[in-house]
Symmetry: C2
Subunit: 419 residues, 2 copies
């Protein structure tokens, strides 16, 4: 039996899961693992420490290794390791969503030049099979819509804010204690992580390259418990949604932001750290996937799946996995957020003058914005009124312009609503 | 550019969807289509009728054809066409769940002998990507549990019975008028269709061959509107569930029957003709898929996906799609339904004697069956009482034995309840 040789860079949570899972596969042999700290205690039974090196280039340059598994994340030094490993003849399996979103083009061009493949099932939605299905069995489709929950940390926080009625800050510290959020939570809570993932996901789904800098991004830090309560009253849940729309002319609208989604939709019921992806296309219609978006073992499932597929094809061909190669030579034309159409949830505090509702209505009407719901609850001791509005579908530029004219009101929240 | 040549047998609903979808792919050419009725009007623009033949062997025997697409269904004559096509050097794409369930072993052995692949994504859950993901990207997993809704007709009927409070017979005729159920609905409503699908699905998920004759099967014809109402009251929906369980010793329990599933589960919310499959395994955890289980275009998506994957690999290798080949040489050891453990929903009509509840309780206790819920509603004019019971987890053989001892009661329904 041919033994395929795997080298790993990184032996953290995901790396450990990969190591343990690969033990069941006798045709795959892990021959070298680069780590930062050689002395760190590993949660692996009968671990052969002679596999370990602190010099990643011992893995990168080893001519015996067929497949390099990169599970350290970030751009530097991961890009240097991966690019050199491709040049020295290795196929790549990575979970590095940031690298894919920022250096995807160079990465796949380099791989193609050297007739190597780069697989990354684990980078998007962890254990959910997504990249390989889209690129293989769903290849006959024109996908035009993506609705996804791609970040477990923010979905955990929003779910807990909803069920406990607590503030963002309270739930964040709780999530940090439980290990669901990092000490510096910026990458998750400001939507960077989800933006990296939807950049790559929309690129492969739409078949042209989406650039990260054109992906609109807004995090969850400004979502208030009051918004959660109001959303519930109105029949919605608030989720951090990563979405992509492709119009008939091939223009793409790709973004990450909090969104009110109807309680009748499947997405509203994806709770805690679960991830979910719904894809609409022709001829397949609507297909939804859900499962664990992170974690030692679910993520390992995807990394190991990629490794096994490379190994299986390496036994039979020098040009492997034709369907899994990058097919995106062109950049997609992107629609700016200001030109998109949405419904909006708007919470504002207005001076309790006679005619304040009328003024809001008039300003909106002048911007071609129809209102479908207006709620005003009592009047505060300071003689202000809290007003909640849900608009009909209207243009982002128009709602932003209307808000700038509501200058005697305090805008508490503006959150988009799923159409 | 190499043009891959496809021959089709069948140009009904699915075949038409395949034909239309493949037009977008310039490297695939449909060269011949066998149909029953040459004169039938086809819903295809600018259809080149010279492609059509009424002799399937013109397709089967054509040495130019690389891939045979079989979309007629049934065992005879499909098996003859497919087996001869393999022998004459063709790869096969089929949507034939009955053939896979009944002749899978011979089919895949024949294909392997001739170094050909048989792909069948469309045969199970229509447009949902399932077979290719399980065999490729999920290959690192040990899957131990399947819960699925695999038949759209029965799910439509049960959904409508639930929402309309109507009887099975009423909704069946409505479904027949709408084209959701066939004139002879037996294959769907008695669970044969779902049994074919779960036979193949559990075979590939569990990695050993499941035999159709060992799959327990029960249809939906005995489900009453009263059961729907009671299930709702108790927090459940009734679904025709196809399920598979693999125990620690490698024994499989595979079956299709109506089941009460908690309203809190995702399966309870899969309505009308939608299909859904949840798989649990290690290391991936729980993964759920949902989408259209049938229909011209969703099914075409899967057929076309299979064709594109064969064509892509044919360009580069003589031994294609190693991961998609049959890996099941052994039969799995099956657990008989009588030896499985379930909860049960039992509806019975008892003579309104003093002590009837006590008698039911005693008979159950003697069989080691604990009751978690007992509901008795009023007393009828004929002095009988309708009693609904939900048991704790107990053995199928024991509940059947208890029921045989309840000889002065009329058993209205016995439906298993998801644990």
């Amino acid at each position: 039996m041919t033994k395929f040789k795997v080298g790993m860079i990184g032996l953290g949570t995901v790396g450990t899961g990969v190591f343990k899972t690969l033990r069941a596969f006798s045709d795959i042999e892990i021959v070298k693992i680069a780590v930062k700290n050689k002395e760190k205690k590993r949660d692996i039974e009968n671990f052969d420490t002679s596999l370990i090196t602190t010099n990643p280039y011992e893995v990168v340059d080893d001519p015996e290794i067929d497949i390099l598994v990169e599970v350290i994340g970030g751009i530097n030094p991961a890009w240097d390791y991966i690019s050199k490993a491709i040049e020295s003849g290795k196929h790549i399996v990575t979970a590095n969503k940031e690298l894919l979103a920022k250096k995807g083009k160079e990465l796949f061009e380099l791989a193609e030049k050297h007739n190597k493949v780069v697989l990354y099932e684990a980078a998007i939605a962890g254990g959910i099979p997504l990249i390989m299905p889209i690129k293989t069995i769903m290849a006959g489709n024109k996908i035009s819509k993506i609705r996804a929950i791609l970040n477990g940390t923010t979905n955990y926080i929003l779910t807990k804010m909803d069920t406990d009625g607590a503030s963002y800050e309270e739930i964040l510290s709780e999530a940090q204690e439980l290990g669901y959020a990092e000490t510096d939570p910026t990458g998750d809570v400001e939507g960077y992580d989800a933006a990296y993932k939807i950049t790559t996901l929309s690129t492969i789904a739409f078949g042209k390259r989406v650039k990260l800098e054109n992906v609109y991004r807004e995090g969850i830090t400004k979502v208030r418990p009051e918004d959660m309560i109001k959303a519930n009253e109105l029949g919605y849940k608030i989720k951090l949604v990563a979405l992509g729309n492709l119009d008939e002319n091939g223009n793409a609208d790709v973004r990450v932001h909090p969104m009110l989604v109807s309680k009748k939709s499947a997405l509203a019921h994806i709770n805690y750290v679960t991830n979910s992806v719904s894809l609409s296309g022709f001829p397949m219609g609507d297909i939804a996937f859900s499962g664990a978006g992170a974690g030692e073992f679910p993520t390992a499932s995807s990394v190991v799946g990629d490794i096994l597929n490379i190994a299986a094809e390496l036994s039979h061909s020098d040009y492997i996995l034709p369907m899994m190669r990058c097919a995106h030579r062109e950049n997609i034309n992107m629609i700016d957020i200001s030109q998109t159409y949405n419904k909006y949830y708007l919470s504002l505090t207005a001076p309790n003058n006679i005619g304040v509702i009328g003024k809001i209505g008039t300003i909106c009407a002048n911007k071609h914005i129809s209102l479908s719901t207006i709620l005003q609850k009592g009047v505060s001791v300071d003689n202000t009124a809290d007003i909640t509005v849900i608009t009909e579908k209207c243009k982002e530029a128009d709602i932003q312009s209307a808000i700038s004219e509501l200058n005697d009101c305090t805008i508490n929240s503006l959150i988009r609503v799923e159409l």
